[in-house]
Amino acid sequence: MSAAAIRLERVGGGLAREVKTRSGASPMSCFQCAKCSSGCPVASRADVKPHELVRLIQMDQRRAVLGSRCIWECTSCQTCVTRCPQKVDIAGMNDALRAMSLEAGMVTPGTAVPVFNQVFLKAVRERGRVHEVGLMVQYKLRTLSQISWNASLASARQETMASWRDGVLRLFADAGKVPMMITKSNLSSLGPRVRRMVAFRLRTLFADADKAPMMIAKGKLSLFGARVRGKAQRKAMFRRAAGGNP
């Protein structure tokens, strides 16, 4: 490491230092060439492009960074760090930012990534391996409970809750038609932000339900997953890991 690089790492505000400690990435080394953003597969849809995100970290803009959508849309494809002339590990940085965003309660509404990660890791902890069918069912159920939760936020009125429960039951009875019906009739009384959230959850709930029969026919889905021995040790491992992060 050159002397100049060492000096660069000493500057920067608290956010840059925290990112450096938690991920090893050096946001203060970035000189804004934007090579990361030109190769980033999700930059075109991002609220903040990768080089802008790094700049915001340099400027200590905690809220803009931890509340951004882009940290949850990073596909971890590693193109940015591969091409960066300063080797700023933006993909690794985003991993740390996601954890920090969760801890700070600043997760942008409309991302399902934290729920997916939780469900996924729970499967690893409990069974040792991820069983895709089980994972999808768990994920959908969690998404469903989020719908009810969003609805209860919107209105505490009993009949709304009851109609929600009925609606959700009907969702399962006739998966093809009912979501649209519910979106149209029940959600019109909700505010736009909640409606967006609920519409998002509904999309998630029904996404790919149509694929299941085909996947089973193709032998791509097994109904029962494997379980690996050593559940107690795994649980202890997860506990120690949660307590040991920098």
């Binding site: 938690r22 991920s23 597969p41 999700v42 849809r45 849309e73 596909t75 971890s76 494809c77 590693q78 193109t79 760090v81 591969t82 991993d95 996601r98 954890a99 969760l102 991302t111 399902a112 990534v113 934290p114 997916f116 990660n117 939780q118 996924f120 890791l121 499967a123 690893v124 040792g128 391996r129 991820v130 069983h131 895709e132 069918v133 999808m136 994920y139 998630t204 996404a207 790919d208 694929k211 996947m215 193709k218 032998g219 791509k220 889905l221 097994s222 997953g225 494997a226 690996v228 021995r229 050593g230 202890a236 491992m237 997860f238 120690r240 890991a241 949660a242 040991g244 992060n245 920098p246």
Partner: protein, 293 residues
Amino acid sequence: MSYVFFPGCSLDGTARDFHRSTLAVAARLGLDLPELPDWTCCGSTAAHGSDALLADALPAKNLSAAAGKTVAVACAACYSRLKTANHHIAGDWVVRARVAEVVGSDYDGRTPVMHLLEILSRDIGRARIAAAIRRPLSGLKVACYYGCLLARPPEITRFDDAENPTLMDQLMEIAGATPVDWPHKTECCGASFSITDADIVLGLSNQILSMAKAAGVDCIVTACPLCQLNLDMRQKDIEARFGQRYDLPIFYFTQLLGLAMGCTASELSLASLVVAPGALLKSKGICRAEATP
């Protein structure tokens, strides 16, 4: 060299065809791939996206169980996670100590990890593979699609050229197929957003399919369960969304290699492919009509 095989969760589920065809090809080459006993999930994106220490500890637990053998991996995502953990653990004694605390035993980060493409190209070698070819894939134009995680970041995977890898292209040439030059070899398909935000996957995978089509290929060859799933299972959705018609079968490289070695369609689970390859293989005289799905 002796190996232990780390299949990973996908190869027990949506990528069972990858698993089966891998073992079929290995058998033809006399390559012994015993499964790592009691392997557990590498943690995948969920672990590195939420818990840095766990993301190193889960691979470490598996790699230390390999008892000095080379760990052979088929899934590009597992490969990436195992190699990244090795890189972190071998390169930083603080990480090594923390991981040891979590796993309950010390691991030095030095168990070798190789992808099947590397094993075939570097350890088995051109001559042995060529000798196993029974039915060259003549006239089959293929786009070799490596995805993100085999070649990137090159400091960690040391797989091949990060921008223009050729290991799979070389194998396809040995198998008698014609790999084409195309610019999307290492572009991202959207990977695990397949579940959390399919829009990302539809857009990115559409670009890959359309570029392959423009390169004039008959099919795409993959080395990653997520790449294969996104390009294959979602191809109909992509066609509908973007008003395109691709009709491109998406093979695992082991399936095409297996076909060239004379394996049957069922040994290679060709029926598991969503975009059915039967018509293509028949038109090229590669697979007998009754054997094609």
